[in-house]
Point group: C2
Chain length 146, copies 2
DNA sequence: TGAAAACCCTGAAGTGGGTATAGAGTCAAG
DNA sequence: CTTGACTCTATACCCACTTCAGGGTTTTCA
């Protein structure tokens, strides 16, 4: 199958497939005389695995680790379990952080129930007088709100 | 005060302060003969506001909007309220998405309670056989898990 | 006084995980 | 034989910084 077909079948943009190849996540495809990439079913399987991992919000580095294990069927999968445990922790931490953030934002929002002038806006004043929280400072594994 | 002092006082890396100046979030500072930036207390206040917004996980574009209102004290602050409402929505949505993700990850984790070989690992098999979810596909305002 | 240390400058490139573009080549149908 | 759909490579862009290279300035201390 050609790249467009694979893209269609997997729900992955063509550019993303080429990007995964460049990144070494997908092995280089065979080529036709005209340099078109030709994919076998194994490629489709591997791509589906990668996309599934990404839909679970794993980084490409984490995906690389899992792919390495898939390629070494006799290896002990303890590291896979660890990776997943850590990923779950990161997600749980991020949820906690976002919950705290939501609370803070709702408190801030309540400071201006009805629009006034900017000078009197309880939100703008609230941001000014809030003590700096270390919320966004730490390096995080799980992305923020955007 | 010089840039290092402002960095210390605000808990902001020096490079980030220069970056905010380049981005137009902070007005250009006065300079000494030797081209060192010199900051007045207003700069410190403005920087604190920006950092507070960032700790609330707002984008720099959102911060720009809020700063515009701070600079126009007579404007109606309705847009500020809107911006905050939308930001809160984004955060709430992200929390929901991450909760679903956590659940999925925990289910996956339970498929391999004790380490085996990679070939028998319930996690690797689970990723293979899971139907593709649209989780990571949508454009999001609030970051994921990393 | 002079040298070392601490501070600061600019400009460019890198991060992650793609997305978008330009400009060209390839292939199938009519 | 031409049109249009498909594909190719290479490059730039997104965000919010961070890091680096290669200098210049100011302070401190012997």
């Amino acid at each position: 199958m050609r790249i467009g077909e694979l893209a269609q079948a997997s729900g992955t943009p063509i550019e993303t497939i080429r990007f995964y190849e460049r990144e070494g996540l997908l092995p280089a495809a065979a080529r036709t005389e005209g340099k078109y990439r030709i994919y076998a079913p194994q490629h489709a399987n591997r791509l589906a695995f990668i996309r599934q991992c990404r839909s679970l919000d794993m980084t490409l580095d984490e995906v690389r680790v899992l792919l390495r294990f898939k390629d070494q069927p006799l290896a002990d999968c303890g590291e896979v379990n660890c990776l997943l445990d850590e990923h779950i922790s990161h997600v749980a931490e991020r949820i906690q952080a976002l919950r705290a953030l939501e609370k803070e934002l709702r408190a801030l929002r309540s400071a201006c129930p009805v629009p006034h002038t900017a000078a009197d806006c309880g939100i703008l004043q609230g941001i000014d007088h809030a003590g700096a929280k270390p919320a966004a400072a730490s390096k995080r594994h799980v992305r923020g709100a955007h």
